[in-house]
Symmetry: C2
Subunit: 381 residues, 2 copies
């Protein structure tokens, strides 16, 4: 390695050393990574000058236009790219966003991840992701991992139980946006969908269609967004003094168990002629359960599910859903995060956004007039 010895202030014995290297270096030229130092040496200016020009501080630091131009030209010519690691070490900024979701393979989160990536790439940010699988301990590990990696900001859909960790993160001043779920007692930027409103509208829609006995299938979990969905349904029912019919599925169960419970619920409540599902997965299982019971949709049972899904668009009949506005969510998440990233460190201030979901009415919730119903015999009484 060639070492530069200071001789007189600002002058180095560059030329001599350069000659010594130039002969055998030719073949290795491709391998040798070019440094800011090499740029400076070649142009006979200081490293600082090159750095300032490259970081757009030429004007501010009064580097002459002609020199700035020369630097940029040479940098372009040799294709120099600053080492991001060194840069990050010095500046503390990595331009990496940490994305933590329940499961990246879940279509909802995968879609949001795709949209976020698309929107944030142009701003020079990259995304590093991890899935929590709703495991509190794992989530806690993930959050510290992200801290260790010095991510600039966080986009988080977290399970219960990490409130303290997130509160600490917020206090530390790191830009952060919660989405899909808020955390109880944590004041932070958040982008969520108004599940209560969505389910309220869905229930009213079913009642308006003349389905008299509407039930709801939800998860037992205490997650806030789940409770809101249940509450929207309950309110619509109470307004008409109708009895609520709720099936709460315990967490962490197998597919078959869930389907069996839905089947049992339907059989135990024969009067029930419409069902709401609180998540797309419950909806999917519900379809399977009804299919096994031989009940036709919507003749025997009308269906509305929260969250859209490929299957719902293409199933026969197509399934009515309360769709989350994915595009708008991604947009809100990004703009909130960028504001926090680029804006001043306005600690204490946080933005809570509640987006309206959209009821997409499809075939599964439309009442079929008696006369046009097919005369297929009912499989179950």
């Amino acid at each position: 390695m060639v070492r530069l010895l200071p001789l007189a202030p600002g002058k180095y014995i560059r030329n001599v050393l350069e000659l010594k290297r130039s002969a055998p270096a030719n073949e290795l030229k491709l391998k040798k990574k070019i440094l800011i130092h090499d740029i400076a040496k070649h142009l006979d200016v200081s490293i600082a000058t090159v750095s300032l020009v490259l970081n757009g501080k030429a004007k501010e630091k009064r580097i002459s236009d002609v020199l700035a131009e020369k630097v940029l030209k040479y940098v372009e010519e040799v294709g120099y790219k600053p080492n991001q690691l060194a840069k990050s070490l010095r500046t503390g900024k990595t331009h990496v966003i940490g994305l933590v979701v329940e499961d990246i393979a879940n279509p909802f989160f995968a879609t949001v991840a795709g949209l976020i990536e698309k929107k944030i790439l142009a701003r020079g940010y990259r995304i590093i992701y991890c899935s929590t699988n709703d495991d509190t301990a794992k989530t806690r590990d993930l959050l510290t991992m992200f801290q260790e990696r010095h991510v600039d900001g966080y986009i988080l859909a977290l399970p219960d139980g990490v409130e303290t960790d997130v509160r600490a993160l917020v206090r530390s001043g790191k830009p952060l946006v919660l989405f899909d779920r808020e955390l109880a007692g944590v004041l932070a930027n958040a982008v969520v969908v108004d599940g209560a409103q969505g389910m309220y509208e869905a229930t009213q829609h079913l009642l308006n269609q003349g389905f008299t006995s509407v039930g709801m299938v939800t998860l037992q979990a205490g997650q806030a967004q789940m409770q809101a969905r249940l509450q929207g349904y309950a309110q619509a029912m109470q307004e008409l003094h109708l009895p609520e019919l709720v099936l709460e599925i315990a967490f962490q169960q197998e597919r078959e168990q869930i389907i069996a419970q839905i089947q049992a619920f339907c059989q135990a409540n024969p009067e029930c002629n419409a069902l709401l599902f609180a998540t797309n997965y419950l909806g999917v299982y519900g379809l399977e359960a009804l299919s096994r019971l031989g009940r036709r949709i919507p003749e025997h049972m009308a269906i509305v599910s929260f969250d859209d899904h490929d299957l719902f668009r293409l199933y026969s009949p197509t399934i009515t859903v309360v769709a989350q506005p994915l595009e708008a969510m991604a947009e809100s998440i990004i703009s909130t995060l960028l504001k926090a990233l680029e804006g001043p460190v306005e600690t204490g201030r946080s933005t809570q956004l509640q987006l309206a979901p959209q009821l997409i009415v499809r075939e599964s919730s439309i009442r079929v007039p008696e006369k046009t119903r097919p005369k297929t015999s009912r499989t179950k009484a």
Copy 2:
């Protein structure tokens, strides 16, 4: 900011400064990040010693067990974590893997991404992802971005047109695994699925079921894996001297256009009573097309699609697929990559793996005996 002034070699005026700070620092203590320097200072050993112990080189570098123990204990006690950026800068390793896929929101890639994450997390690697959207220029940018970020390895499903870039990457010695698609003329580690075999079996299955006229819907793209799928079908047909019926869909078309083309194809070939689809999306569009034509599956038209999908498992009837072994793919990708990451730089050697897909026979490809067929009137002659 407190500055440390060198006094004698290796000794700093620590104590004085420490006293000056200790009074008002209490509240800020949480903010002040602890450094390796602080550990060394407290134990009155050198930074080097602490570093060696932490990196498991205590034995090798003959640090006494008692001291090593002391260091580990104190590090644990104060919860010191080395700064990854500084570490990466020095070692050149980031423990980050770059994942480049066509679209992270596509269930196939999202699932693979989820499996890869799960398997690699325990090894201390993180994943940073980007979607190409099959755009050559964007892909090229992504690859250089990943290089700039010094990812340790690459997992790539790339569009055509970046062969030169990938070849350069391979030559540079960076660990890399291609998956889903190989690249023409690029010798690199690769994990792909034998589409020819899969489609050959699927075609034979349909012929065995008595479907006499089997057609195939594929993409016009010249991608190798697409050609293989087509070829598998063609071979099965040729072996029985049956005419091939192929619909090639041009790339980058809208959903509705594709559906219309499939509809037209079906009408133009009324004798065709079984269809193969080369990707899950084509299969999904095919279902829509058949549904619009009022053709029943499998009575009027049997269906097999490449690639499994939620929809195919739950559609009525359930759809027979040639499923890619996702779990095995992820496993192979990871083990190949880890071998390259951790093993010696055996340049020139590369592993090509071709996994067998699995034909999952469901209802859509089973011939229904004439007598048990429903007597529903055919919508089209």
